[in-house]
Symmetry: C2
């Protein structure tokens, strides 16, 4: 294919070549609207930055990128992500790679970031987190030929042959939790999940319903926004609907703490009337009373393995996905009687 | 001054020009020892990367850097830093800047990172955290002419005219804490500090001792490594030495939680016999029983202001340091009787 030049784009977009240059180089000097228009036209024409120009001073950025698109109030995600980031860093530092981090509000901004990183050759590849059904980010990364590793289980809807996953055993862990609750003698279970648009949430909900059925447990699930308030309120809703004894699985420790306070304020007995299990362990689960039974996984190691997988892909075009270790269920007083 | 070439460095270091090239470009192909030797010689000769070569494809990296040199086990720092990072990101994203994050074990590695960022022109400037007495990082940043903002109060030993600080009111906050404790009627106070090599720790210790004296309180301080275990053990040591009633100020909420458990395990009454104040608030302080009185500051906003100050320096060579807002003292049951 003939190489597309700035002049071609300028002509097609009906703007000056210098406006195109500003836009393509991601520099100020052109309005947001004009820039978007230019980028669209450039895309349509199949424009790619000149490898030679972009390859100075070096073809390799020696940098790995991570964009977290997080809703403002998902507090817990913070502790998970910081431990994850520390793990990523351990591996990158040891391999002399830099780490580019971006925290944005939406996956639209996340995709815009990938474009800008690709234009500037800022990163050699990225870690993709919070994968969802029909995730448009995968298409964007493949279009820009940015190597990536999906942290978690890519849903069926992601059909690329090029995808590389660090798979997490969400279904197995949920089975472990429900078998534990069944062993405590409870007949009804509920799951306060996170955002249902996340694939791992869907996979957990599916496993929850399937395992509950297999174990002969009555089951209900409710979506939350990960806040303590939602944990408290939805726990009370569940108890009002289902009655006790009831076993509740919370998608993170912040939800579990909200639920714990609400249950205590109602004067209900833990674990006799309500059993609580937190999906995500932290020192917080040990300092509350009663202590919280929790699914404990090493998010630092998850970060390490994700970074290592991406570096292997850089070196050898690795395509074999990896399974992350099963988490441990740490049984404490919130689910078993004293 | 005559421009120093790779050949000059190769001659002086007694190595091949290609080895010098590998070393200066921070690429593999030369041993760590050889690389260090070469960098030393290059420094001595006053070598600087060619502006022209480094300025392609663009003179501006459009990136801000942050290196955190953290001891492996300082758990709390994590929550502080993640909220800080989220604040930094909010400002950078709005200004289309990238964010380069590095987490390393020592300030030696931190300085090595600055050199590598400077060589690669990876960042336009950095945020400098955990400033300490005679901090060698300031000298390194000035040598590389990397703009920086010090987050916190630079100690007297940092003499540069070029420094720019986002000052934090540590002394004022400590005065607020001690006045609160004095009002509760306690006559003895103790402070479990963080690492004494940090300037903010020294400033807090100094303010603690000065205010205790002015308020006529008997005072003692002990250094810790920020762990829950240290919080528990040193709290028991203090009680054994000083007796009760005693007011204890903990440098973060993890220390405070350790102290709280230890005091409860001893069967001592809170707040009648032991009053606890945490320097750093979090939802954890609200979920324990009794709830913890805490110094509450907005670490997200601290990150925002630090990033904004650095961006102002880029634009206008800003040199006026800024004072960060006073934190709030949130009084809860751990320091005032019910």
């Amino acid at each position: 294919m003939q190489r597309i030049t700035i002049k071609d784009i300028a002509r097609a977009a009906g703007v000056s070549p210098s406006a195109v240059s500003f836009a393509l180089n991601n520099r100020p000097g052109v309005s947001k609207e004009k820039r978007e228009k230019i980028m669209e036209v450039a895309d349509e024409l199949g424009w790619r930055p000149s490898f030679f120009a972009r390859s100075l001073p070096s073809a390799k950025a020696n940098t790995v990128g991570l964009v977290i698109a997080r809703p403002a109030r998902s507090v817990n995600a913070e502790s998970f992500y910081f431990r994850f980031i520390c793990g990523v860093e351990q591996v990158l530092v040891a391999s002399s790679y830099n780490f580019m981090l971006k925290i944005v509000d939406s996956i639209e901004e996340e995709m815009e970031t990938y474009r800008s990183w690709w234009l500037d050759r800022s990163v050699d590849g990225v870690l993709l987190v919070d994968i969802r059904d029909h995730d448009p980010r995968v298409e964007v990364l493949e279009k820009y030929e940015l190597p990536y590793v999906i942290v978690g289980n890519a849903p069926e809807s992601i059909r690329s042959n090029n995808r590389l996953e660090l798979r997490t055993p969400d279904a197995g862990a949920m089975q472990m939790v429900l078998e534990h609750l069944a062993q405590t003698g409870v007949k009804q279970v509920a799951y306060l999940s996170g955002f249902a648009r996340m694939s791992h949430t869907q996979q957990r909900i599916e496993a929850f319903n399937r395992n509950a059925q297999e174990l002969g447990l009555e089951a209900q699930t409710l979506e939350t926004d990960f806040t303590e308030e939602a944990g408290a309120q939805k726990t009370l809703d569940l108890i009002a609907q289902m009655g006790t004894p009831l076993g509740i699985v919370f998608d993170n420790e912040v939800l579990a703490l909200g639920g714990l306070s609400a249950v205590k304020a109602q004067g209900l007995k833990i674990p006799q009337e309500v059993k609580l299990v937190s999906w995500e362990d932290s020192f917080v689960c040990r300092i509350v009373s009663p202590q919280l039974t929790a699914v404990s996984r090493d998010s630092g190691r998850l970060g390490q393995e994700a970074a290592a997988l991406l570096l292997r892909r850089f070196g050898s075009h690795e395509t074999a996905s990896t399974d992350f270790e099963m988490p441990e269920l740490v049984v404490r007083a919130s689910s078993v009687g004293r």
